[in-house]
């Protein structure tokens, strides 16, 4: 292979040229802010572009355009969802919030921050496939519960939660339901006419859109307070300069995803699993086999450590990520693998392959072939998994 093979699309994606083309005029020609309808024409044009992008994105979720606000990305969206609801309801309804143990860091650490501020947080368990225990959830919701935040798809192992069931339960108990759909948006159907969610986090960076733009769906009437002060942008829910090129690029990125592409990603993911199982012994496939993201595969290679695997792959210009402590900024092993009952070794040896538009079947084959050699080499030098006493 004479080019980089990038399989870390859950972290960030290559921008699609068509997205760039759509954004370009808003850098060089129509670069003004969005003015009110009584502003100057350039500003009105900018406002119209922003509104159009908003309407398109809202529609893609089955929502009204007044129910979708732009943010700087999924981290901000989830911060706003949790802290905004806490601020709006904390002194009125109660101080209890429920999240799952496998949430991504924006939800997890927003909850931890609120915990320090006096909120009571329950971290709900998941089973070995990563599914939230809905019965436990039902028992945990009280009259004081102001918010349940459970992701749509997991960032590491790709498991899809039954958010319809979870949302119904929350609504039955008059509790607001937020779901982080950063990794599922456009890859898996998500329509707010079917899914009883009040708040949904989405982002452009996972779907070949620009970095630095995301959105939060806010169902009409949901109590939420702003956490970013500024002008009166985003229905006065998020102050700050409108990111018009970003918004336009985000809409274009969503427009470019289609079923055919998602099926192609699924076929490549299936191929990864099929080839690895055939070629490499002693592996564990993490997450559910069926209810999962089409673009995600997560596999633990026993007796070897993830950073060694990723560094070897890097030398072949292949980029993937691992749940190993050595790879993470905090030197902590994956909290997701731990929550599904995996031991440390399973977390350290886990590799995530997250695919995108620019991956090919040829790349998949090359990556697995290369990986099989690397695992073999690392197992030769590993003291683990050998029938001998040390």
């Amino acid at each position: 292979m004479d080019k980089n093979i990038y399989m870390d699309n859950a972290a960030a994606t290559r921008l699609d040229e068509k997205v760039m083309e759509a954004m370009k005029p808003f850098f060089f020609e129509n670069y003004s802010i969005a003015t009110s309808e009584f502003g100057y024409s350039m500003g009105i044009d900018a406002k119209n572009a922003l509104d159009e992008a908003r309407t398109f994105l809202a529609k893609s979720l089955g929502a009204e355009n007044t129910e979708f606000i732009f943010t700087s990305g999924s981290a901000e969206s989830s911060n706003l969802a949790l802290k905004g609801v806490a601020k709006a309801l904390g002194s009125k309804k109660g101080k209890h919030i429920i999240i799952s143990k496998i949430e991504d860091f924006p939800v997890l650490y927003s909850a931890k921050t609120l915990e320090k501020e006096g909120f009571k947080i329950d971290y709900i368990d998941v089973d070995e496939f990563g599914f939230v225990n809905i019965e436990e959830l039902e028992n945990l919701i009280t009259e004081e519960t102001i918010l349940v935040s459970i992701q749509h798809a997991n960032q590491e192992i790709g498991t899809l939660q039954d958010i319809q069931k979870i949302g119904n339960l929350c609504w039955k108990k008059h509790t607001i339901f937020h779901t982080d759909a950063t990794h599922s948006f456009t890859r898996v159907p998500l329509d707010v006419k079917d899914i009883p969610a009040d708040l949904i986090t989405v982002s452009a960076h996972t779907i070949h859109g620009p970095k630095g733009i995301g959105g939060l769906y806010i169902r009409k009437g949901t109590p939420i307070a702003k956490i970013m002060d500024g002008g009166f942008q985003e229905f006065n829910l998020r102050g700050g300069m409108d990111n018009i090129p970003g918004a336009v690029g985000f809409a274009k990125a969503v427009e470019l995803v289609n079923d055919e592409e998602n099926k192609r990603l699924q076929a490549m993911s299936n191929k990864i699993v099929e080839m690895i199982v055939a070629k490499i012994p002693e592996v564990t496939i993490n997450g559910d086999k069926i209810k999962r993201l089409p673009q995600n595969t997560n596999i633990s290679f026993h007796f070897v450590e993830g950073e060694s695997i990723t560094l070897h792959l890097d030398m072949y210009d292949i980029a993937v990520s691992t749940g190993s402590a050595c790879f993470s900024r905090s030197l902590e092993a994956s909290h997701v693998i731990a929550a599904i009952g995996g031991d440390h070794e399973r977390a350290h040896g886990s590799i995530r392959f997250s695919l995108g538009r620019y991956n090919t079947m040829e790349e998949v084959e090359y990556v697995v072939e290369t990986l099989a050699d690397i695992i073999k080499k690392l197992r030769i030098i590993s003291p683990l998994g050998k029938e001998k006493e040390v």
């Binding site: 560094l311 030398m315 050595c326 590993s382 001998k388 006493e389 040390v390």
Partner: protein, 211 residues
Amino acid sequence: MSFPYNDIVLEHFKNPRNIGSIENPDGKAMEGSPACGDMVSLYLKVDPKTLIITDIKFESYGCASNIATGSIITELAKGKTIGEAKKITWKQASDALGGLPSIKVHCSVLAVESLRAAIQNYEEKHGLITEKVETTEEVIRKRLKKVMNPIKGLDMVTTNLVKEVSVKDGIVHISIDLPENHQFANAIKSDAIEKIETLWDVKEINIDFTE
């Protein structure tokens, strides 16, 4: 390309020296644990007359710096007497590799510890411990910190598997907080015996389980 390690580290990572194990080694040790994500096993052949390390092999479960320091430490120790090899510091190992990222220095400590432990193992087996420290409860607990609890991937002391330790007239008694028919009971027991039986004044080891 901007790799997180320098060229020397990468070279040792790609082509580690002295990989493998030695049949009937004169000294051996295993340091670290899967929980920490780092483990090094080390095996020695020592010439009994000159006390020179004639062969040394290692195995590594860990990140690139773990593999590279295991490799360099075997190179540094080979051909040295056990006395000289004991004095090799993690700083020397790290320097020989052209430096490690500060967050990874603990990996070089692990490699040095495993070398020292393997030498100590040799000395104990061959009656070369000159300062004969009396085996106390504390000494036993220190040894047991090197026995892994496979349930947790951490050592058996940290994970509270050691319920009781007593030493009297060379007879060591250990209570392990596990049912006797537990899946890992035998593995833990034999591992613990292996770590303690080399102590010079230990005559007998009794291990029982709490249930």
